[in-house]
């Protein structure tokens, strides 16, 4: 399941569904809204392009790291502290591939998927600067 959506997901169900034949390791990354003196976070995406990029990243990760299953769910809209922002679930035969595949996916998302975050504080709002100043659409 690759999705950009407002709704949260049940990570336990995703893990169960990720255990395809041959699975020895499942790794989950769950990025959550950190309590940096903010009230909420507002997320925005260029949805069609972001979804296409996520699908490409999932395919690349599968090929590069022998993954058996990949889920990427990136949420948008308004999220409170400790809510899930991004959930990545991968399964592989062995743990080195599962860890490397998971990490590959999050790093690629940070680099090039058109999604933006605004922290809403009591004094207003602040767009979070990207980790990669020239990010987005590198491969598009």
């Amino acid at each position: 399941m690759i999705a950009i959506q407002h709704e949260d997901v049940d990570i336990g169900n995703l893990i169960s569904a990720a255990k395809s034949a041959g699975t020895g390791a499942v790794v989950v990354f769950d990025g959550v809204v950190r309590d940096d003196n903010i009230r909420e976070m507002e997320l925005e995406a260029y949805e069609e392009v972001a979804l296409r990029e996520l699908e490409k990243i999932a395919g690349d990760a599968t090929r590069l790291h022998n993954l058996l299953h990949v889920d990427i769910i990136h949420r948008i809209g308004r999220l409170s502290v400790s809510e899930n922002i991004l959930i990545i679930v991968v399964s592989a035969g062995h743990r080195p591939d599962a860890y490397a595949g998971s990490r590959y996916i999050i790093e690629e998302i940070k680099k090039g998927v058109p999604i933006w975050k605004k922290e809403l504080t009591k004094d207003g709002g602040r767009w979070v600067p990207g980790e990669h100043a020239h990010g987005a659409g590198k491969n598009s």
Binding site: I115, W116, A136
Partner: protein
Amino acid sequence: MTVKVRFFARFRELLGTDIITEPGNGTVLANLVRDIAQKNKEGYDAIFDEQGSFREFVIVMRNGKRVEIADAGKTAVVDGDEIAVFPPVAGG
């Protein structure tokens, strides 16, 4: 002809989004965006530098594919194009 321009994040806040334009034949991408951005000085300054060139961190897409900003001054838009202009991404 009709071309849609989409701004995202801070650019959207300053300039709006899903702007439908009817540029003349041969209009290049950079000029199209510059014309729209003129309506709000802060929005214009966020995207363009003193020489009127795209700031180097600005990302421009045409129909979902990246256009190098160096090429935006010589890329003519065509009917039905969707142009997107946005700051560096920060998802994840």
